[in-house]
Symmetry: C2
Subunit: 424 residues, 2 copies
């Protein structure tokens, strides 16, 4: 029976029950962490072959003969560019391979435009005001970049098929201080939403007043399916090219959640115009990124197809975890009318919306009983969820038995916080 | 006999002889490259153990238990910080380990100060004018960074024991638009000069008018001896601390020329104040650099002492090459009065000063006969050597026999260009 339909007396009985249940968990001295999208050991173990892939003095060259030990190759070795091009659905020449962090490449992209302008106009650091669109709930580290540079962040509500395009179209067509937008278009962080074809087409057709407006297309989970019902994302670059808008998107991805978060390979992809602009900067910034690590990845996977097979192994580890989380939510909270979530087909998170004003309290209750969740509000610009209702669950790191324990506590905490609100 | 003391007739005879010698080289279809400070294959081969150092799932943690495969550790793993701290003579906590490129960390350092100010003042990108001191001859990629950001570069002449400190002291004390200086304090690029104790002390005692003035101390060749007479560099950080000036220097080094240029580990080191400032930025820019590669380096070297032993192997490869270059210079040009050089005790280059107005011509003559040298002028800001006399020789990449061939041609080219000038 939904809590929202219960009488005061029924709620009081339930509240007493949940307080007792909560105290029981509290006495268990749990120490569990569901706060970050970190792969678990079982996933990291899948890539041991990368660690033991032997590169020798006789075998350290690209097909074209470049010695990966030495200087050179600003855009990365062709073999790695080709694999990323397949992953992102772009041309090899539209790909630049970087270091171990796509976040770093995103930061560098914004940073570059702070001091040089991609369209030859005023560098952003010399403008008094920059605004940036932030679909939310979203990724806290994206918001941290635009906050670091002092941009005013405008929250764009997420709908079930992507960000609110009406709002985006209206805003960018009228305000040339709006210079960009953060997007995680497939299995979005944290909701697991994949943008619909229509949303992608509307992004491709955007007509921003600011000529230096850019879509930061962080395709972090592009091949990260955790279900047989995988989502399909329309290719933004193809759609942009159809309407002469290919300078709009700058795409990113990495192997952080394919091989190792600490020692993977990242890339960016963009149009020739954009690449010429960024190459000019990168050619001053570095002589080239770690080619031995690129070569190791190429040898470990063998091919794009080999990499895709590898992703099936991740799915085998992750699917039971996500099922455990969603099953707990359904069994414990499904009929109570106090929480909403969508079962994702991929990505790294389950996003739960609790009753307005209850998210912080849920996270606090969990913390006091030894289970760390992502801070409430972290999924919104400035760390402030206007409704205080969104909670991000990261089911990948803890072992399944710990995960189930943590979810039991979480569901009790959601019920308790909701009852506190409803009986207040 | 010095060309400068020859009669017109003697010079004409010599010119004819050198023209013939040059034509002979030209007919040999050489294809040699002495342009960049790239380690040769024999040096890269020394670090094969780094490629084959086995890290396994069971053995991928730091001593403190951090899994190097996963996210985390913004400043780098403690074991690697400790080795770099020994190399630079600073405290472990003053070291941050980065990716594979110290150039990248230098670029990022300047870039950070473009958009945020280390002293809480105006970010440099919002100032109309920034000036930067550039001891020259110097490293072209340093100058490229300050040119990229639009700084006015002021050439500081190099003396035999470092940059002209009188000029530096005078300039920085009077002009608060001067925000920094590039230094390669040990075995400088290209001259191989090590700053004297007095020069280091004067750097430590600088009183710049700009509170956000920083010394970019690129200690790229800090342990790169190529002779039993190794130079000693006074510790700038220690000297700065003695006079409360520890926020002045930002130090850099890397293993690019210890292990692999393409896949080494770089670091920066600075005071607590500076580190707090840069950490704030790095914590937004990335979750952490490649810890597996750090761990691999730590395991390969075993210790700082192991790394120092490894440097002896580099010396064994490099010393004969530098001797070959300097011997050729002495034998072919020593008595002619048309070229000056100093035999370096370490580093990657030999710097030759030819008669004023002859450097471009020498490089052109070499190029037309198949030997690529660093462009004349590259060692000066904006690529313009006011005297057109400095040429950087990079003896590390070609095999010794090619090196000797290239040096034969180089000496002929210097003689020919000088004779062209003297007989004009």
């Amino acid at each position: 029976m939904s809590y929202l339909e219960m009488s005061k007396e029924e709620l009081d009985v339930e509240l007493k029950k949940m307080k007792e249940a909560y105290e029981q968990y509290k006495s268990m001295d749990l120490q569990l962490d569901m706060s970050r999208g970190k792969p678990g050991s079982a996933q990291l173990d899948l890539s041991e072959g990368l660690l033991t892939t032997v590169i020798s003095n006789e075998d350290c060259r690209t097909l074209a003969g470049l010695d990966c030990r030495n200087y050179g190759s600003l855009e990365g070795i062709p073999e790695m560019r080709r694999i990323f091009a397949r992953i992102l659905g772009v041309d090899k020449n539209e790909v630049m391979v970087g270091g171990n962090s796509s976040l770093n490449m995103m930061f560098d992209t914004v940073s570059t435009m702070m001091t040089a302008n991609v369209c030859g106009g005023t560098p952003w650091a010399r403008l008094d005001k920059i605004k940036w669109l932030c679909p939310a709930p979203g990724y806290d580290r994206h918001f941290a970049i635009t906050q670091y540079f002092g941009f005013e962040m405008i929250t764009i509500p997420m709908k079930s098929d992507g960000p609110d395009m009406d709002m985006i179209e209206q805003l960018v067509s009228q305000d040339d201080t709006i210079k960009g937008i953060w997007c995680v278009p497939k299995y979005s962080n944290p909701q697991g939403i994949t943008y619909s074809d229509e949303v992608v087409r509307r992004f491709a057709r955007l007509k921003p007043l600011a000529k230096d407006f850019r879509i930061m297309w962080d395709n972090a989970y592009v091949i990260h399916d955790i279900s047989e019902n995988s989502d399909t994302l329309l290719n933004l670059m193809d759609e942009c090219k159809k309407c002469g808008n290919e300078d709009l998107p700058i795409m990113f991805t990495s192997t952080s959640k394919i091989t190792f978060p600490g020692a993977g390979v990242a890339c960016m992809a963009c149009s020739e115009n954009n690449m010429n602009f960024f190459r000019k900067k990168y050619s001053v910034q570095t002589i080239g990124y770690d080619k031995i690590n690129m070569l190791r990845h190429v040898k470990f996977f063998g091919s794009y197809e080999g990499l895709m097979e590898h992703m099936q192994k991740h799915r085998a580890v992750l699917e039971p975890r996500f099922n455990a989380v969603v099953n707990k939510l359904e069994n414990e909270l499904g009929s109570l009318g106090i929480a909403h979530w969508v079962k994702p087909n991929g990505g790294y998170f389950v996003s739960v919306d609790v009753l307005e004003g209850c998210a912080k309290r849920v996270v606090e209750l969990c913390k006091n009983a030894g289970v760390v969740l992502t801070s409430a509000g972290a999924t919104f610009p400035y760390g402030k969820d206007p409704k205080d209702s969104n909670i991000r669950l990261a089911p990948t790191l803890p072992p399944v038995e710990e995960l189930e324990m943590a979810m039991n506590l979480f569901c009790v905490a959601v019920r308790l916080a909701s009852l506190e609100k409803l009986t207040a």
